[in-house]
């Protein structure tokens, strides 16, 4: 039985009230929703937010794998502790354990250079280039359409990156409708200025991950440096602080339940505007199937690990990642079911199509929409097979290595720009790394059992999904599979590191000639894998061509409903707005939207991950919160919760109040929001932020840095 959620009382009121807060808006869209922003409580001028290359949005930068923002004229930049963790780790040595102790630079000379590959990118250009990208593609279909878009994008990027210190990329909005060229200034000299101890920055660690209430001080302060000429430069002692075009001002007031907040950052990927069929596929097939298949692999590793301690150690990391995947997929499935996402999307799409039928655009849009839907429906035909073959090359060690070496031999003879993504010159280091880790992470018995689990499932698929090459390598019966695997893994020498190094360094021709059993298997599989890839690109090309019609219809339908459509997230700068919001977690359980230092004391066990440093415990015990405590309750805040629309990539995003001042840093979502990449459910979607009052209190009373507080414009009390 499908249980529809019975919405009652307070939960209902909250849901309706919060509904308007969904959306990861392009800055350029904000003027058009200025009225909504104002109604939500924003005091500023929406027009001032429209250009992401101007203040205040140009203070928001990509850094590490997340988002950061400039907070001083001399290049101070705040982001999450976990986003800057590599920098802290890089500067830690046995006798200077910055992870455990944190770090407070005594002065500028004490600011520590980040790892050389750590980067911050300031967006300096964001230009619509749709015509240039689609010029050659128009009139084409399938693979040709895909290749034309790919070639035009590569050309534009290459041209753009001729300028010194610029990193460029092309982003599509609305799935192929609009294309933008994103120009970013890449800063290469970042330095560590202030980091709290791990037991503050990552208080609660995995146990609290995805959880609210939360008590982490997940922030770190860096400073960007440039060369004496003011241009991006590698680290040098002669470099000078970078003067960003603008910076955010830290608020002195805090937030309270119901307050307006907004957030800017670089959310990675969402699927909100996928078709109803794709929603159904995700919920009814992809998530449950992935969970089942991955659980099969987990069982294999656990069984083998029980039998052999060595195997258990070799596969510990893969096991952990399988478990994480299973947990995430299960959480997403649970969330989408709880939110009744499939039914909601189906009804919404049906209403949209019914509306479209009454509009003149139907004539141009409907045929493309029908074609797109037919293509998506076709995708079901071989989805099981493609899932299994994908796992065959991602969840194995030796097989993956052999497939990579084989493919490299195909790509290396081409000009670099024409090589397949993932097999270009710049990717070779990564491939070599994978070949190296086989030494520590491979056990033939376990790998055979993993391949058996996957290929047994493959063998059970209907004939239409079978590929001759795959059948040839693995056979079509369990007995044949066992025999084939004994032959491959019994005879290969690819398990020896020297042999792998030799083949990695060998010429394409030599690789082609190898008679090693696993390389022969990879070579046999190759035409099938290339065919799948080609088919996928053809399909992707057609969807890129056809989906804009679907998006166009959706935009029109929403316009008629009085609302705007944001493009699905794609790692470009977006703005969300909403409010500080409690969470009705379940019947009779309410999570308040602000936590206090009291919670640190409650959670503290003295053991990792609840081992708050003694100076923090002492300061809490002392209770000197003047100037930082919540004025109403007298409590010292730590983290807060909002209904802001976020996803992966928003880590470190600045959270601003109605006046545009910095009140928090985004650092996590709640577990119930795992499914938000498909559907924003206002009842459950929450984002978790560290409160700037907590950061300031730590910098004032616990690990003091008065000079830094002064530079941040919020002097010690």
């Amino acid at each position: 039985m499908r249980i529809r959620t019975v919405m009652l009382g307070a939960a209902m009121a909250l849901a309706l009230e919060a509904k308007a807060d969904e959306g990861m808006w392009l800055p350029s869209q904000l003027p058009s929703i200025a009225k909504n922003l104002k109604a939500a409580g924003f005091h500023g001028d929406a027009a001032a937010l429209a250009d992401l290359t101007r203040a205040p949005l140009n203070a928001v930068v990509r850094v590490g794998g997340g988002t950061g923002s400039f907070v001083s004229a001399d290049g101070l930049l705040v982001t999450n502790h976990h986003v800057a963790f590599g920098v802290i780790q890089y500067n830690s040595k046995p006798d200077r354990d910055l992870i455990t102790n944190g770090y407070v630079a005594a002065d500028r000379a004490g600011e520590l250079p980040a790892n050389p590959d750590y980067r911050a990118r300031v967006t300096v250009g964001f230009d619509k280039v749709t015509d240039r990208i689609l010029g050659q593609a128009r009139g084409e279909t399938g693979r040709a359409y895909y290749d034309a878009v790919d070639a035009a994008s590569k050309a534009l990027v290459a041209e753009c990156e001729k300028a010194d210190g610029l990193k460029c990329s092309v982003a599509t909005m609305f799935y192929g409708r609009d294309f933008y060229l994103v120009k970013q200034l890449e800063l290469r000299d970042l330095r560590l200025v202030y980091a709290p101890p791990r037991a503050i920055g990552n208080y609660g660690d995995e146990t609290d991950n995805f959880m609210w209430p939360r008590h982490a001080g997940d922030f770190t302060i860096l400073r960007a440096y440039v060369g004496p000429d003011g241009k991006p430069a590698d680290y040098s002692p002669d470099n000078k602080p970078y003067h960003p075009p603008s910076h955010l001002q830290i608020a002195t007031d805090g937030v309270a339940e119901g307050d307006f907040v907004m957030l800017a950052g670089y959310p990675g990927i969402t699927y909100r505007h996928r078709t109803a069929a794709e929603f159904a596929d995700q919920v009814q097939w992809r998530l449950p199937t992935s969970v089942a298949v991955l659980k099969g692999l987990q069982d294999v590793i656990e069984a083998q690990g029980h039998a052999s301690q060595d195997a258990a150690i070799r596969y510990a990391s893969q096991l952990q990642s399988l478990k994480n995947g299973i947990k995430r997929f299960s959480g997403e499935l649970e969330g989408l079911q709880r939110s009744d996402a499939v039914v909601g999307r189906r009804e919404d799409e049906a209403a949209m199509l019914a509306w479209l039928a009454t509009q003149p655009e139907a004539k141009t849009l409907k045929p493309d929409i029908d074609q797109a839907m037919a293509l998506i429906a076709q995708g079901k035909d071989v989805r099981e097979r493609d899932l299994l073959l994908g796992l065959l090359s991602s969840q194995t060690q030796l097989m993956r290595g052999a497939l990579n070496v084989d493919r490299l031999a195909v790509e290396r003879p081409k000009p670099d720009a024409a090589r397949e993504t993932g097999y270009q010159a710049r990717d070779e280091e990564l491939i070599q790394g994978q070949l190296k880790q086989i030494q520590r992470r491979y056990d033939p018995k376990v790998e055979k059992a993993l391949v058996t689990s996957l290929m047994t499932r493959y063998q059970q698929l209907p004939p239409a999904q079978h590929l001759a090459e795959v059948d040839k390598v693995f056979g079509t019966t369990p007995a044949a599979l066992a025999k084939a695997l004994d032959a491959i893994y019994g005879a290969t020498k690819f398990g020896d590191e020297a042999e792998r190094n030799r083949l990695f360094a060998a010429s394409p021709a030599d690789v082609e000639k190898s008679t090693d059993a696993i390389l022969v298997a990879a070579r046999t599989l190759r035409p099938a894998l290339l065919r799948i890839e080609d088919e996928k690109k053809g399909r992707d090309g057609d969807l890129l061509r056809l989906r804009p019609a679907y998006m166009q219809a959706l935009i029109g339908y929403r316009e008629k409903q009085g609302s705007a459509v944001y493009p699905d997230a794609n790692s470009t700068l977006r703005v969300s707005y909403g409010k500080v919001t409690p969470l009705l977690a379940r019947d009779a359980v309410t999570y308040a939207p602000l936590t206090t230092v009291q919670g640190i004391v409650e959670k503290n066990t003295g053991k990792v991950p609840f081992d708050a440093p003694q100076p923090l415990l002492d300061a809490i015990h002392k209770g000197d919160f003047t100037g930082y405590a919540d004025p109403k309750t007298g409590a010292m805040p730590v983290d807060f919760l909002s209904n802001l629309d976020t996803t992966g990539g928003n880590s470190g995003s600045p959270v601003l109040n109605a006046k545009g001042e910095l009140v928090g840093l985004n650092f996590d979502s709640n577990w119930e929001a795992v499914s938000a990449s498909w559907k924003y459910d206002p009842r459950y979607k929450r984002a978790i932020h560290v409160d700037m009052r907590y950061m300031r209190w730590l910098m004032d009373k616990v690990y003091p840095s008065p000079a830094l507080l002064k530079e941040l414009g919020v002097p010690a009390r």
Copy 2:
């Protein structure tokens, strides 16, 4: 570091407000606190509650192991599903599974007789008998004081029980200060009238045990019958419904947060007025030591269970009970630490003694208090040894059996009244049962390992704690212990059921002559165990004599503070009052005090224990809650939470509103309240009740019984 709780904001306000709600009052005390009752919101006359043999308190009865109350003039009685579970089980057969399906009697003829040993007791007398009990004891000390009290109590009870159908007992209030003779009419014909399915009555089972939010419909309705002459009688088809002296009226209004509630029932045992030294002993020694010793036994059983499947099965029940004990002790320890109970009690006691020093009574009271404290301090000398020997006879199977058979041989020759409690004629069936269960629950290897765990600890105790007899049986070194256990368990035939039956039936003289190794061991231990028992009774006698001085001082001190003292719980009828109260579970987490049917849907997995019956799910889905829903939120209530002072024995206790109407049945506490047997902490002590609106809705809309609702005075809507 000891972390003192930092109390902030709302939590503080709630704590202060709730403080007055502690107390398990004797009904006779209520007039003296009438002002407090009125201030708390009670609308009635406190004087009307003073006599527990009159209405309304004489509607509150002991039933099963808990409390029940009459709710109709024709003897309908409500209690918890778990209190009446034995009755439901007794009436279930393979083809009539009342546990799974519940039961609705079609008419009076359909009311099903309870198991013959099921009883309800109506209190008909409660008279102070202090002088009669202490007459012979005054002037005595130690064991003589104890024996005099024991003999006087036994004589009074025997005299009282001469009356037909009466069960009598003597209860002491304030630890020996006052004694009462409790007379109860014992009803022997109870019948099952209405029970919800297990998946409603015990929804959530162990998973939700001690948890809030809760969603169980933990109620069952019975009817009491008497003989045609109106007197208690065993079941007979000729019996007629009992007409109780009074009955409670079910409320038609529900409760809301903050509402006044009161509760009457038979709480078992509390330690609130123990001395500061006893609090310290409990927290600093007894609880952590018990946890450590029991964990040792758990480890033994788990290790042996891994090696042998048969052993694992034999010890599954003991393992479960050890785990429960460890969980409970840990929870109590955690709670007492969280509430800083030791410091609180110490400071309170010091203030009391300082006050006493300024009073004329100090002269008479202080010497007794000093003596009591010295005795309590002495108790530390051999506490480790006594704990271990106690576990030796409770956590073994064969050894316990041998000790019982040996002791029975000592007691059997005495007149029954003089036999030690636990070894009287009426206890023999229980002992025989234990001897019988050895067949299923004993494995010599596991028992040897358990005894080794306990006796190894014993061997490490300082010499002053050693007993010659124990050393003789188990040796003083691990090697000697191993040898002794091999000898005892290798040679005994007591593992054979026939041999155990023979020895149980044998004459005391024959038992004395037995040369079976384990009986010889038991006989060797006997003088030591009898000595410990004798010392304990002597000590108990002295404490019974001396503690009243401590209580007298406490009562005087509290009087000066403007408050009254309730006696610690002792299974006599008590009244608590308080209010419907949320729980600030932890930082930023609030539990609302009412749950709704929405929570049943949320928790439901379709699998035990979250497998709500389809008719219930359908009715929730249908949403016909008219007349039962919360008027403000429209939600259908299930259970509610209050700060009422309760402990074990309060299961089934009626919860009344300000007008004295029945609004709920108590059925559990929250986990944080496990430590409330020592300290009532207003921040955490909560009691969990099933809402009478849920009961009525189930009886109206889900498993209807309109006739019953009419008899209850709350006809179907």
